[in-house]
Symmetry: C2
Subunit: 347 residues, 2 copies
């Protein structure tokens, strides 16, 4: 057993990482909120020694980008992007590549990776306020890490996600994304894959291409450019939830061209800029949803789901798996559309 | 269509109430946290006119309890328990008993009930600090409302839950439970029922009776009395999560005898008292999980799940449906066990 375990629920197909490596005493949790954000930022330039050696560094070089890794005692300086292992990882690499994941039907090893991608040397360069050129580096680094991690034999899925603001669970305020590589395909991804495969088998079409066609020019449309489409989903779980979809059928970020990465950076800047100005920089989570393997490339369509954290899920939601959303997505789309357009005019 | 809709997710078997009746403008959500808890408490005695007429009132009468309803213009005073319709309901009763629920595969009517059960005339009489005699009234009132609501032809499930503290989504601090009656069986309940039915078909046993046998005297045991068993579940999603199970096989709260209600009240007082003293009155949610129909009575075992809100679910959990819990349930059980025992000695 690796020291972190993953346990299956008694009943549900729901797995929980029992994170002994980042383990806290129960009473440590009392003051958690107050302890945050105090002191020196370990992700800012000149504090590189406060993190483990970077697995990826972008450096400026002859008008282009040079990609490096830190060595054990050495840390690169003057970086544009840094990606480091999480100091308190939920998933850790195995001793060797061949590893037994499942120990029993209710117990597995938490083998994998858990990384922090530092999006900019500037502490507050979050997507809603970032330079588009910097966002291009961020997305390129996502692609690089996805490429590297998904090639490992014990990795079955790579989740790239962002927690922004305390209410969204961010413990560090420096602009960063997290990357977790897991040893099996997680429940929600699996459920999505099954639904898309069923639709594809029945109709010969991609479900998301179909959604895109239906939501185009509809009451939930928010924004688009040449390559990306942004809208509030029909059954939005979160107030102000929005999704970003590539217009072309693509199953993972690995399919995206350099020109499309530029368009995605612009979509980030426009949408998160609009969200910021509408709601005064609210907390949010986002996560990429991607096909875990080539097998799903015909029927699965990658996209980004953004969940502003404006309401608190409570006893009803947790007990039933049903959600109560107090902002209809049509209203959310109307307000976001206006805010994004206003922001774009100013840029 | 009733004015509140329930929409199904594009892919997942996940339904969302689009709560137009409690609808907020997106920008209303900005200041939500600050607005709470200000001013007069609408659930305190003498403010009965601030709520809709009660559907159930417990009054003291000749050494026993008399049960009444408020009439339109009239409100009973000097009550022990009051249950009122929620002013901003997520689910509302239909015009007539026979009603079409599903409008399409992705759209349903939010018919049902949404009630607030005021647990005591004393503002702060929460389970961790309540008199056991008052908790007996509370549980009796749960049973009464469950009886009444589950008999309605358009009700398929009744969820009784509690949000305690701001971090758990409580907008009112007066001691109260909420009751929501839904027009179909929610996803998590349905998944649990299927799992229990499979186990029962295979082994002839109740899955929860089996869990109880295995967790007895184990490292996750917390507390027990003659009728109830309390433990931290194997794959706890939340730090300090615990479940309360009846020792006897019972499928809903309607099966519980008056003597067992007294034991359950004591279990509430002991466990929530221990949780309070261990973590200085943390926010939490709890929800009853019960069989929705007689069909499930042999294989489903009702129980209460309690989720302290000590950590924030973030991008990873929301995108994957996998959870990271930083307190192993064995540690949680050890600390809760000690805290509950210490509390009991003082009582």
């Amino acid at each position: 057993m690796s020291s972190n375990e993953i346990r299956r629920d008694y009943l549900l197909n729901q797995w929980v990482v029992i994170a002994k490596e980042r383990k806290r005493r129960p009473t440590d949790l009392v003051k958690k909120a107050e302890e945050r954000g105090v002191g020196v930022c370990p992700l800012c330039p000149d504090n590189e020694h406060m993190t483990p050696p970077a697995v990826l560094v972008y450096l400026r070089s002859n008008g282009g980008i040079r990609k490096e890794r830190d060595q054990n005692g050495f840390r690169h300086k003057n970086w544009l992007i840094r990606c480091v292992p999480n100091l308190y990882p939920a998933f850790t690499p195995p001793d060797k590549d061949k590893v037994k994941v499942k120990e029993s039907p209710v117990l597995a090893n938490a083998v994998g990776h858990h990384e922090v991608l530092i999006e900019s040397p500037r502490h507050n360069e979050h997507p809603g306020a970032a330079r588009v050129s910097q966002l291009v580096h961020v997305i390129n680094a996502h692609v690089d890490r996805l490429n590297d991690l998904s090639a490992k034999p014990y990795v079955k899925y790579v989740e790239i996600f962002r927690n922004h603001g305390r209410d969204a669970g961010a413990s560090l305020s420096h602009a960063h994304t997290q990357i977790i590589a897991t040893p099996f395909v997680p429940r929600i991804v699996d459920e999505e894959l099954r639904a898309c495969r069923r639709f594809w088998t029945k109709t010969g079409k991609c479900l998301f291409c179909d959604i895109l066609r239906k939501e185009k020019d509809g009451p939930r449309f928010i924004w688009e450019n040449d390559s990306f489409f942004v809208f509030a989903p029909w059954a939005s779980v979160h107030p102000l939830e929005f999704w970003i979809l590539p217009k072309k059928h693509q199953s993972t970020l690995l399919d995206v061209s350099q020109g499309e990465i530029n368009s995605l950076a612009k979509a980030f800047r426009a949408c998160f800029g609009g969200l910021n100005s509408l709601l005064n920089d609210p907390s949010y989570n986002f996560g990429f949803h991607m096909a875990p393997s080539k097998e799903a490339q015909d029927y699965y369509h990658w996209h980004l789901e953004v969940y502003p954290r404006l309401a608190i899920w409570a006893g009803f939601e947790k007990s039933t798996g049903m959600f109560i959303n107090v902002v209809p997505p049509e209203d959310a789309a109307a307000e976001l559309k206006e805010a994004v357009q206003a922001k774009e005019k100013k840029l």
